[in-house]
């Protein structure tokens, strides 16, 4: 597996959608290419931080307004 092929498969690897044969090739490349290893680490870090964005509840004022309008 070369670097462009590796980059195309990062999403599948992160989402665990990879078959075993491809995964072995992917991991072999990962263990030998520092650039691709860094790329994967940085994407995983960005996604991990992004997922920490908090969820917020509908404000009470809006909730009441909509319920008054339609209920």
């Amino acid at each position: 597996m070369n670097c462009p092929e590796f980059k195309k498969l990062i999403f599948e690897y992160m989402e665990k959608e990879m078959d075993n044969v491809t995964k072995k090739e992917f991991q072999l490349h990962l263990s030998t290419c520092k650039d691709c290893e860094r790329d994967l680490m940085e994407i995983a870090k960005a996604v991990s931080l992004f997922r920490r964005l908090k969820k917020i509840a509908v404000p009470e004022a809006l909730d009441s307004k909509i319920q008054n309008l339609f209920y």
Partner: protein, 194 residues
């Protein structure tokens, strides 16, 4: 109140209760502004109420509401927000190990991150931002997003790949969690409060 109106109100109540938080959060992440998100959420449910008679039940109700939300956002904010158009772009445990290697953040740091991250998100074009929010924050599956956006599953996957790469590139140059030398845009302020 006649029976038809009563039935419609009952149907609407169920839809509103099951979708309100998801739609509000989606619109909040799209606008980065709580007031705008509230106005848009009201608009979305107004349209949903009016359109209930036309909802034929063939589509999933969540998909239908998200479609209304996406169109409402596009219609109302198109003029206000400049669009970016020039972007181009087992060991089962290994990825878990990578995630675990990311340092845990303290509460105060999470607050800081919230402001910066919303800014980074705002820098992405809608073609990437919409699937990224729906997939990473709202937990929708690829086939659900493809139905909402009327494109193929493969197209959504490509957009997600590019969105992640773009987000990473932005963070590498702007986020102090990636490089302590990067200036922190929000400098610890609660951007949401502005």
């Amino acid at each position: 109140m006649n029976l038809k109106v009563k039935r419609r109100k009952g149907q609407f109540e169920k839809i509103y209760d099951s979708c309100k938080n998801r739609i509000y959060n989606y619109l909040y992440r799209m606008t980065g502004d709580k007031e705008e998100a509230a106005d848009l959420t009201q608009e979305v449910f107004l349209k949903a109420y009016r359109g209930l008679d036309n909802f034929n039940g063939r589509a999933d109700i969540t998909t239908w509401i998200y479609k209304i939300a996406i169109n409402t956002y596009r219609n109302i904010l198109r003029v206000k927000k400049p669009q970016i158009t020039s972007l181009e772009n087992n060991n089962e445990n290994e990825i878990s190990i990578i995630y675990k290697s990311i340092p845990q953040l303290k509460q105060v740091e999470v607050k800081e991150l919230e402001g910066c991250m919303q800014k980074f998100l705002n820098d992405l074009p809608d073609t990437y931002r919409i699937p990224l929010i729906l997939y990473e924050l709202q937990g929708l599956r690829i086939h659900e997003i493809s139905e909402i956006m009327n494109v193929s599953d493969n197209n959504i996957k490509i957009r997600l790949v590019r969105a992640r790469v773009k987000l990473k590139e932005i963070m590498c140059t702007q986020c102090c969690y990636f490089n302590p030398k990067n200036p922190c845009n929000c400098k610890g302020e609660d951007w949401n409060a502005k």
